[in-house]
Symmetry: D3
Subunit: 255 residues, 6 copies
């Protein structure tokens, strides 16, 4: 049995219907510029891969990935002025996640994970979760997280061994995402095209309109030098093993 077994889009409905007591995982990413060396699908691809690993660990089911997300911001994604960044409005993200969760709850699932790969999605995803929870009287337990928050300090330390950690907000197309892509889909990473000129200084405020120059013109916020598949593996495994514990606690699941 391969990992694809856990994908809802590859199951027939009776196969899916037999799994309502198992966790179901909804990956959400974005389509967003990721500097010169990473493809635009990074957030969605990573969310999907982590979800599949988590499904394998939990005997869960992965729903089809939401490949578009909330607007990329200068301080955490840098995308608004780069071609290829597709920014959904907040209301659209709320409604989309709302409808998908409503339907899966109506199908009888009560153990739901939303696995987010795009920082800016979070408040709108949580708003959707809150609305669905109110409407359904809380009959499903919904856990929302991502691949960075569950990492324990010692995993973060190992991941950045020999490197500087610039803070999560700047980890866009930098060490963690590049390493995860080297781990999962190395053929899509172009280390030879990597550009790094300066670290973006995080600001204490936002200012609109966004202007050319708010983000370096190549599209990166921090240095990706030193990324490796091994570091990517550490993140993936570190995240999944913590998420398994979280699910055990919240859902009472075990393997």
């Amino acid at each position: 049995m391969t990992t694809t077994t856990y994908r809802m889009d590859q199951m027939t409905w009776p196969e899916f219907a037999a799994r309502t007591d198992r966790p179901v995982i909804l990956p959400i990413g974005s389509t967003e510029q990721h500097s010169q060396h990473l493809p635009m699908g990074v957030d969605a691809r990573i969310a999907e891969h982590i979800s599949e690993d988590l499904a394998a660990a939990l005997d869960g089911t992965v729903m089809p990935t939401l490949c578009y997300g909330y607007k990329s911001k200068p301080l955490s994604g840098g995308g608004p002025l780069f071609p290829g960044t597709i920014d959904l409005n907040g209301v659209t993200v709320i409604n989309l996640v709302h409808d998908v969760l409503s339907e899966i709850i109506a199908d009888g699932f009560t153990k739901i994970v939303v696995m987010n790969g795009h920082f800016e999605n979070e408040p709108f995803v949580i708003e959707a979760i809150d609305l669905v929870t109110r409407e359904t009287g809380g009959k499903a337990t919904i856990v929302e997280s991502n691949w960075w928050d569950p990492l324990t300090p010692d995993v973060v330390e190992k991941v950045f061994e020999g490197l500087d950690f610039p803070g999560w907000a700047l980890e866009h197309a930098a060490i963690t995402e590049t390493s995860l892509m080297l781990h999962y889909e190395p053929q899509l990473v172009h280390m030879d095209r990597m550009v790094y000129k300066q670290k973006v200084e995080p600001k204490a405020y936002v200012r609109y309109p966004v202007r050319k120059g708010d983000v370096p013109d190549y599209g990166g916020l921090a240095d990706a030098t030193g990324s490796s598949a091994e570091r990517g593996r550490l993140i993936a495994e570190g995240c999944v093993s913590e998420m398994v514990k979280i699910c055990a606690e919240e859902f009472g699941t075990e393997r």
Copy 2:
């Protein structure tokens, strides 16, 4: 160079930015029960595959697929009461397609195809196209179609050679979808699990609430017996070659 070259999610932003004068294709499908022998991702997978073939033919770019669609109806998809059918509200589909198209037009693309794999999506996708067209003063030409309408009568005849054509509305998990999946992803088709008891009689009206029994309990609307990869190839090639002509006429594209 492989077909994956045409996928936006696998491009860096500069690669994408260099292609604004080429067509861009947005596949939209659904996640919906497809009887006993087909997986739930059929509509999205077919829309994506056809889009990739079309992109290869046109030197176009395929955007990430919208994997969830409008509500499955008894007479054309049969899904509302089957687990795994994820029905988005009409407003959600409109907003989602609206935002994606707005962003791609803001990026400078003017030759856009929306390739639909789920019958019920169409009016809501077109509403989104109409709204975006009004807001942007019509600066992009947007073509919306699917894999069935462009087929010429002689292709349809060849596809159904030796078989009965039950009408497009009932072609859900039947000859055409099964054949397309045998052509594109045979490992996901379970011909041994195929069930067929009776042809659903299309009704001259809709009635709500939908009730168990409106659709046979296995989930099919018509017989898939006789499906083959060869018939699938005929459909795929028949659709793509017509779409190339349509794009030539509407966009002035050629290869």
Copy 3:
């Protein structure tokens, strides 16, 4: 007692309140160009007349007609660029039908027919019906149809005796609508102004923006020559008699 007895707008509230166990019919049409020889109210007028005939046959009640509908499309109505076509947004149609149905259900009616006279309305009307059905737990049975789908093949054959049937999509301001208007309101039909130059070729796709020339400049999609009150009568009676059977089956009504 005349047919007007069945009109809700002509009843006092106690008369109406006494009829909650009878079917109630909501006609919906549009205001849309209908070529040179038919007035713009055709879709609404026909929906209303058919509804009144059906009410007479069922001892039902006809609600006031929704005279504006969803956007007229080039391939099925041809209206977007002609003065006088009033196109409601999809969300507006959904909300309007939703609110009217909600209220009539709150009044205790459980046998509801929505009679549509404008092809493009259907998906948005059905979305409204679906939403209301979910909100009210399905306590009313709602049937949605129009005057063309219920016609039996032999009625269609008789209606088009000696004529070509161009397909329903092109039946805009053509044989069926002209004949129905000659049957119901001949004083509004100007046969002497009828224009026909070419049959519109139905396309396998939609393209936006709509352009002058997508529809012949007089506004017709197919030929109306040969229309007659008698053909109109056949359609009206053919539709009503089928609708009576449908209501009998769905509502358990009889006369």
Copy 4:
């Protein structure tokens, strides 16, 4: 030439297109209980009749009537708890009027009257007018009124000669509406069923939920005794002649 000439729904599109420099009038009413002696279509019927008279006076065009309106309130319509009162949500009224006005302005009309027959509609209709005006840069002049506000004091005095005027808020199914219906459609008025027990005392506040007893159980707010077709004629003519002056001032129209 009869008054029906002024109805948009009875015109062909070329007839309508020839009138873009003339005023266009949109009647809006409601479907609402009107006590024991008046039918539920009163607000819509009166708005439509006044609009037709005004169109005749101005050589204007009457659009199809919006027959459903905003929620009936205890102090001005008394409808929420009576069967047959169909209450649209505020957002629905705003969107509906917005879309209709947007389309008529897009058709080139710049002299627009909204003629309201249902007190509660007004703020939501005006919100729609404000939104459309902002969106279109104010290129159309839109006048909104009703059949009561334009009446001069001496007309009001004549209308109520020998009677008490209870204030406009209570004029629901009372002297003015009954008289107007006797003037325009006497066959729909049942003077023999008229009930009057007590005058409703207008309150200085609203209280929700509305309760049985907030309005007398027969549905009236004030006494209709003394209503006559002649009083109705005075109102209709008094309103139309003032509206003609208003249009002359705002549109520069004359006859």
Copy 5:
């Protein structure tokens, strides 16, 4: 204990939680031009002061004031073309009031007063109240009023003793608001800057777009000459004493 005790924003949550059986009052005003002599916060300030007086009389709780309101109209506020008038869209007002009321009802409060200080707010506030009432099955009693409607005729007579009453619609920045501000916050009233040139003639219709000149360029609709703190006190006390009676009747409250 001072009047500030009644302010929710000055209470801790346990203090507030102990008062669920007492009335809770939500003041709503606007930010709107008030001619030359009054500040823009008048509507909000007066609503808040009256609410505090009412809370003191009822042992109720005053929620934080909604300081922005629905669009100022020429005939009742004169604001749309004056800097500083902040006009919320109708939908925004409905949603804002809806959410605040929903939350307070979820907290267990069942005796709610909405105290309005801005004429134009009323229909949108009431729409919100209606929606919340439907959603919560009417478990809270919600009274909506303002500071002018509850005044008895003899109070109005005393307030305008020696002056002309121009009608409530024109009472914008005129006798009543100026007097109330002289009563509550005299330091914010600049009697020396008062301008009065002509009484605005109320029109029998509205016309859009609003034009410079629809309202006198200084911003007033009627004369404020003769305003006094004493007249303000009469209004405040007259309103509060009536509101106490209304609450006694609707809530069964007493002191």
Copy 6:
């Protein structure tokens, strides 16, 4: 001249209109439980006070405070299950901020600060800013910040001298908010009622439904012991002096 001079609600419209070239500041807070010793208005009161100090420093204008905000979350405010926490829906916050900003830009202001006092508001406020910026073509420069992000590391160090800094997320009703309230409105702080039992452990995920126990039953997330007016003054002055620099850079303002 007192600080009240900078409040828009205390200005007449001509005073306000004379200041369009100066910065305008919109404070937004919330109404939310703040443990046992702080009142529920803390977020709004602090946002307002900081805004007034900033206005004084910049010769700016403070708009009326938005006193209700987005939903309080367990990990950053702890409010959803405590009486008195008033949670607006995301869409409501977006629309409210959108409308207020639209209007102030329409009035000619181009230097706008949104000063936020409630952590959870931020993404929804920024969504509103983004929408307004798109609609107005970016003609105003809008800076959004709060009172914590602009603090320099050495100010934070001084503020927490002798204390542990638990991280900003837990700084709810703890050292910083308590100190700011002791600085601005000591009469509203009840140090004697302060409760602290355990530090809440920030979680790496969110889980819905929120449950009693997710937050300690008294309502605090971290210890407030050691709070002082002096620490509050350091925060206020530290924030304002940085904001002055930010405004100088973004607006070109100086004093």
